[in-house]
Symmetry: C2
Subunit: 638 residues, 2 copies
């Protein structure tokens, strides 16, 4: 049988298909997604859940001029397949391949490159206002999940929806069927709505709404008012949204393609914002037994971001080492509390949750309140560990400033995915946290290079009287310590290798291992270099300044951007000290400093190793940099 | 008549007073506040509105062990007076005086130093969980205004309130009596509730709740359930909060001290979180005619932060110059749209609002959605100008990253209060924006030094194809241009004065004027220095590197912190270039760089001029720094 997918080159080809054919197409899309993801990694369950929804959207709208805004965006695979990108799926999330998120650079059908939650309603609000000003009539659709709508940004957008005096359709894709994953009152509310309705009710809701069609000959507003009146009699999940003055419709079945098409068409005629509540089943059509069922289950419905990377071949990761360490520490110290923003697996908190269940908190995708809750707990004498990816911690900058740093509260920030993140690409890099954290007084920033240092930093953090951040990458953790004979203390660096030449490799965190490898290579080639592990980005060890001496060249290495990062902090300290102690330090050495890290660009999706190569912080690249230095060690005028 | 206030040395002294005496006390407190603020500046109307509420709180609770959490915090004056700080009010908001915000350093009655909105419920949530873990029974009270509850952080906290299984009282202080200032759906909802109730209704609500007292002999839970049942029959403003599973009570009269005391006592016995909705009248008891009525009115109910500073003696401010400039620009360009987060006055948007009413948006205290809305508008081809104070823009870091910079959208950020802010103190400094902005690719950061540059930067921004930030301080704007003969272009600096010595003052933004003054003073004393206006923090002009030459000392000046700031960026660029072009640049000059700005501390409240002195960027201090340089120009080995 010819594949239907082969005949669909773009959304316009959907128009000719019958409802039965659309159902067959949905199955073919599911197969393609499952097949691709099993090989390339990626988000599976969430994508399988929205296949019919996506087909219906593209049949009801023309997204060359209408605009479809994804939230988080990792569930856009069916959308990519329908918009002519199916053949690129063998290079999903690969370098020069297809992005795992929407990307305007790839297709006119994508509007925003997104990977963070809560943005769809907010940006749709702006786009609708833009259309209002321009007087254009394109339809604007925001597709938001039940996990994203609890984010403060979604709420701020819902609260301002009344600015819009034209069409704007919000589709709430509600797929949290499991009770144990509902976090917070909004989830509880949606869950109560869900439990109070049978599938038959949902069918009836759809029917009642559709009975008011066809629309011809009747005013749309009037029609919709009738629908709403009918609905109000039958069910009442609308009070939350209606108290916010948002026209609410639903809930309806998100796998009933034919009805969805009609509903979308009808609701898109409204001249004010409306919200359609849709039930979908995450992972629909996928048989877990075909794959690794454990993995399928452990990747819970709230694990939204980048959890399907190709495994690292059994090596222990920083995440695992952290998870073990915190569970161990938590088992011994009743004051330790762990907080996650919807990422218990990704941040490695599963063991802690098992061991210290009553001291584990998941606030949903709500990073701002996670930090403030920790501040309140620290005020009460507890030791809260807030576990958030570097990229998502950007949502908490102001809370880290005011509620934590300004109050000098001992909140611990466990920052996973700090550094280049690999295949998730630009929306998920953790390349900026040192810059946005080191400006705050009272804050300690540790960057452990190996498992021993990670565990040491956790212990120090648990005893800290001030805020304490620990950053580590999405990578294998070195289990043989680089320098466990050198005591680990706040603001103290460690000299790992004394070289005879004037070259000093000064590394922070993950690049320490690369610096050591580079040193070995250089040694074999006759150049003996010094390797220093800075250990902390803040406070910086003043002992680092001893390496600025006439003739010496310091090369700083960090898994972070150059702007405002570790190297930049070293330069600030060195010039400050040079001014104070003109006699001890030699100015030209400061001028020779080479700062390596990410430049002023968004590193595209690729393997993390490739991104580190671009940043010039891999061992080979370090060797290359040393060899091409213009101030060669042998040329130094002593 | 003896003043009652003189007999109240602490909250415990309230216990002996009759209700009539408490009313007299309220009047005395109002007089003290009005009198003090008229002299020192500060927040007037908001403080006058909560006097009875504050008295009732301190009578019903013992906040030496119970905990009272303020939101925004500028309305804590009555609280400060009642907790033994009345005599310090003549030094309100002054150096070494009383903070205008809660401050744990001042009093055991203050819990968090706050000045940003939306934190009270979030931190109270953490404190309640902390008490839950410790098994302590102190009462926890969060006092939040109707302007703060629309912030995403408040919503995230409300959504997670069900984690708390003990007492936690949220008091919603609803004082938005004027319809025209209600922003957003929440305000609309509260307004509908308000309009549907007469004062008589509110009295009845209170009575119904109190009739169920006394509590002796009856289970508190049962009593409260009865109260709620009675209330539910009469009024129904509760559906919003109750859909979030929050026990809602009210609305009640916030000036009826006796009833409030009883209600607080009753509700504090609940073993779950509850919200009491209270109506107060902002500015109650204050007769505008006694003061400047215009000023009183223009400081609208949403102008929450630091709008009552002593006037600058008629000099034009950066804010006014910006306001004039944008109104002018907006009048000529239909694509320009302005967005504020509840600060139309503070950000100078009043003229734009008058002139371009349909292109002016106020989203309430919701900085995150302000930026995303702008991103959506920019996607539609509009030119959105987002006007947010530097300190509050910290709430939008992640939106600036993903929804603006990553998409390369031409959103303009007009960042007022960038730099030291004076009497508002640590919660409001704008000393970190360059650090948290310059890490994002594609972003331009301008720092105009005078009015001409400010207007030029606005024009450039309106034509920009990339995100464009303009930062300027809370200060008088120099109206005579420093260098209007030198074309103003993105990433181009301007040499304002060629000196003969090896000293180069390289300033960004406001300190340019100080550098010029310092140069004049030094010239008189026989030292001729160079003054360069960098104009942009990003992209940095490569021409700045010409000043790094053997023997030269570059002193960078910025109204910003040293960490990751402008000086730091200059050092990064210089070392990068030194490596590339070893022959052209002289290394020791880089090592001599002196970076001046705010250190790694929170500058306390004081006059802005004093804070600039501490940062060593005033003319006198620059002269001092030049004179005490160890590498004196005359000692240079040429």
């Amino acid at each position: 049988m010819t594949k239907l997918l082969d005949t669909v080159h773009g959304p316009q080809d959907l128009q000719a298909l019958t409802i039965d054919q659309l159902a067959r197409l949905a199955e073919e899309i599911r197969q393609l997604i499952t097949h691709s993801v099993s090989r390339t990694g990626g988000h599976l369950a969430s994508n399988l859940g929205v296949v019919e929804l996506t087909i219906a959207l593209h049949r009801a709208f023309d997204f060359r001029r209408d605009r479809l805004l994804w939230d988080v965006g990792h569930q856009c695979y069916a959308h990519k397949i329908l918009t002519g990108r199916g053949e690129l799926f063998d290079r999903l999330r690969q370098e020069n391949g297809l992005s795992g998120f929407p990307s305007p650079a790839e297709s006119e059908y994508d509007v925003f490159t997104v990977g963070h939650a809560g943005t769809s309603i907010a940006t749709a609000l702006g786009m609708a206002l833009g259309a209002q000003h321009k007087g254009t009539d394109e339809k604007i659709v925001a597709l938001v999940g039940d996990a994203s709508i609890v984010n403060g940004l979604s709420f701020e957008a819902l609260n301002n929806l009344n600015l819009v005096k034209r069409q704007l359709l919000i589709i709430l894709n509600d797929n949290s069927m499991a009770i144990d994953v509902t976090q917070g009152a909004m989830a509880g509310f949606l869950s109560r709505v869900r439990l109070s309705h049978t599938y038959e009710d949902i069918r009836k809701t759809t029917t009642r709404m559709l009975e008011n069609l066809p629309l011809i000959g009747r005013r749309m507003e009037e029609t919709l008012e009738n629908v709403k009146k009918t609905l109000r009699m039958a069910i009442s999940p609308n009070r939350l949204f209606e108290s916010l003055n948002i026209a609410y419709f639903g809930p309806v079945d998100g796998h009933d393609t034919a009805s969805l098409i009609d509903l979308f068409k009808m609701l898109s005629e409204l001249d004010r914002p409306a919200l359609l509540h849709v039930y979908t089943k995450k992972g629909k059509g996928f048989t877990p037994a075909n794959e690794n069922p454990c993995k399928y289950h452990s990747t819970g419905p709230f694990e939204l971001n980048g959890e399907s990377e190709t495994p690292l071949g059994g090596e222990r990761t920083f995440t695992e080492a952290f998870g073990n360490g915190l569970a161990e520490l938590g088992g011994r110290d009743e004051k330790i509390v762990a907080i996650t923003a919807a990422m218990p697996d990704g941040t490695g908190l599963v063991k802690f949750r098992q061991r210290c269940k009553d001291r584990y908190y998941d606030v949903g995708i709500a990073e701002s309140v996670a930090v403030d809750m920790a501040a309140g707990m620290a005020k009460q004498g507890l030791k809260p560990f807030v576990c958030i990816y570097s990229t998502f911690l950007q949502r908490s900058v102001d809370q880290i400033f005011q509620e934590v740093s300004l109050q000098q509260l001992p909140v611990v920030f466990c920052i996973d995915r700090a550094g280049a993140v690999g295949n998730d690409g630009p929306t998920h890099h953790g390349l900026w946290d040192i810059a946005y954290l080191r400006v705050w007084p009272h804050l300690v920033i540790a960057a452990p290079a190996d498992e021993w240092e990670l565990l040491q930093s956790l212990k120090l953090a648990a005893q800290s009287k001030v805020p304490f951040a620990i950053r580590y990458p999405k990578d294998a953790v070195p289990v043989d310590p680089y320098g466990s004979d050198i005591p680990y203390a706040v603001g103290k660096s460690a000299v790992l290798r004394h070289g005879e030449s004037d070259i000093v490799l000064m590394a922070l965190g993950w690049p320490v291992g690369e610096a050591l490898k580079a040193a070995e290579t250089l040694e074999k080639e006759g150049l003996s270099v010094t390797v220093v592990n800075a250990r902390f980005a803040k406070p910086l060890d003043e002992a680092l300044l001893q390496w600025f001496r006439r003739g010496k060249t310091v090369i700083t290495l960090e898994d972070h951007c150059i702007s405002g990062g570790f190297g930049s902090a070293v330069l600030e300290m060195a010039t400050e000290k040079a001014r104070e102690e003109n006699n001890d330090l030699f100015l030209d050495s400061i001028g020779r400093t080479v700062v390596l890290g990410a430049g002023d660009v968004y590193l595209p999706a690729a393997k993390r190793s490739k991104q580190l190569f671009w940043m010039k912080i891999t061992a080979d690249q370090i060797v290359e940099t040393v060899k091409t230095l213009k101030y060669q060690p042998e040329k130094v005028d002593r």
